[in-house]
């Protein structure tokens, strides 16, 4: 019998209970880090603008574009840093889900365990979402050129729905990739993608329902102006990690070559426990 979504959520809440302080603290640190880097990027942009205003060439477009490029580069670096931090937080949540202890130092897990693989997965996700967004961008540009005629508006909406559908289908296949790498950073990027697709076979409906059931919480997060996501993200991730662990346990159980091993160790210990003291036998 497959584990229900509510049961997985209950397990996630039990795993997180008593550890919200550490996890939310890690989330705050990650968001503070991205805030600092983004502020630096904005500062570069503003400082460059002021310097151009103070000098004799306020309308020099070259200076504007160079500062804009610097700001974009800093912003991208911030995104990558945050992604690595989030991967570390995922590791914390994985430890909690498997009954281990979690520490704030686990945040740096992705920095110390083959960060290029985590970044590889992130970049693949990023480029796939860019590819899926191309039809929408093309139609939007065409709509802007043609003055937003009704047919173009309808096409724009259709392309947007198509993009959403593509992202959902992609996530149904490869939604567990990061968790697989977090569990074992020695795995290669493509192997993680293959394993995710294999483990999701026959379970996409459950995963879709699980993801859909978080919509209410996401709305609460939006209503709280993003503050609620400090708690919602760990909860969602822990639930998905439990989903992955449950699928893995299920596939172990259904493996055709499986045979139950006798518990030799317990019997061996019991023999010695039952033996009377001083008896050489």
């Amino acid at each position: 019998m497959k584990t229900s979504a509510s049961e997985l959520k209950k397990r996630a809440k039990l795993s997180l209970s008593g550890h919200y302080g550490t996890v939310v603290g890690a989330m705050v640190i990650a968001y503070a880090a991205i805030l600092v880097v983004v502020l630096v990027a904005v500062g570069v942009l503003v400082a460059n603008s002021f310097s151009r205003i103070m000098t004799d060439s306020p309308y020099d477009s070259r200076g504007f574009w160079s500062s804009m490029a610097a700001a974009v580069v800093i912003y991208l670096i911030a995104l990558l840093l945050v992604y690595l931090f989030l991967a570390g937080i995922r590791r914390m949540l994985y430890n909690l889900s498997t009954g281990k202890t979690c520490e704030l130092g686990d945040m740096l897990f992705a920095f110390t365990h083959r960060p290029h693989r985590f970044l590889g997965i992130y970049l693949i996700h990023f480029f796939v979402s860019l590819l899926l967004g191309i039809p929408y961008v093309v139609v939007s540009t065409a709509a802007a050129i043609t003055g937003y005629i009704p047919i173009m508006l309808i096409l724009q909406i259709l392309m947007y729905i198509l993009q959403l559908a593509g992202i959902i289908v992609y996530s149904l296949y490869f939604g567990l990739t990061v968790i697989i790498l977090t569990e074992n950073p020695e795995k290669k990027v493509l192997a993680c993608f293959r394993e995710s697709a294999a483990i999701m076979r026959g379970n996409k409906g459950r995963f879709f329902y699980l993801e859909l059931s978080f919509i209410g919480m996401m709305l609460l997060g939006i209503g709280s102006f993003g503050i609620g996501y400090l708690w919602i993200f760990p909860y969602m991730e822990t639930t998905i990690i439990h989903f992955y662990l449950d699928l893995k346990a299920e596939q172990w159980r259904e493996a055709p070559y499986y045979q139950e091993e006798p518990e030799y160790e317990n019997d061996y210990d019991r023999e010695f426990d039952d033996a009377p003291l001083g008896d050489p036998a």
């Binding site: 209970s17 997060g221 709280s224 609620g228 909860y235």
Partner: protein
């Protein structure tokens, strides 16, 4: 077991004997005789797990809850990974509950939401957080008292914030109709 009682678990008094068999397949004669060994003749010290004839291991949830009862867990004790995950599940279920903090936070957020609902953003933010905390604190089938209070106050805060917003819009309509001039 005494430590478990100190932690507040509902553990039946068995006078030093292992806990009772929970499997429905266990023979009534054995229960009457107080024989609590596993049907396969083995016994596992310290772990209240028995294997029924149907192949299901049954375990009593250490925290007595009306909806839980015996928890079937056949799959978790068969493979190393599955066994580890199963033990993790047991640890999670047997861990002392610390949800009251979250429920209390929900109540506090609800009250602050009501107080700040006159400025609609306060009611919205704290109301949403209160509902969120109340939902996160619910690990049983029933909600804790604090969480129920937090949910109620948070909903009230949201409704008040909505009313204030509607009132502000209604008051500003005449001003907007005259083009923003008095």
């Amino acid at each position: 077991m005494d430590e478990d009682r100190e932690l507040g678990y509902d553990i039946p008094d068995t006078d030093g004997k292992p806990p009772e068999i929970l499997s429905e397949d266990a023979s009534p004669e054995a229960e009457a005789a107080g024989n609590t060994e596993r049907p396969d003749g083995q016994e596992e010290a310290g772990v209240p797990v028995w294997q029924a004839e149907g192949g299901q291991n049954m375990v009593r949830n250490p925290i007595s809850q009306p909806g839980y009862g015996p928890v079937p867990r056949p799959e978790y004790r068969r493979t190393p990974h599955a066994q580890q995950y199963g033990q993790m599940g047991d640890q999670a279920y047997s861990r002392p509950r610390k949800q009251s903090n979250m429920a209390l936070a929900s109540l506090v957020m609800g009250i602050i939401g009501i107080v700040t609902s006159c400025c609609c953003y306060g009611g919205l933010i704290f109301g949403c957080l209160g509902i969120l905390f109340a939902l996160l604190s619910k690990v049983d089938d029933t909600m804790e008292g604090y969480a129920k209070g937090g949910l109620a106050t948070s909903i009230i805060a949201l409704v008040l914030a909505l009313l204030v917003f509607v009132l502000l819009v209604a008051l500003s309509i005449p001003y907007l109709l005259i083009g923003g001039e008095y």
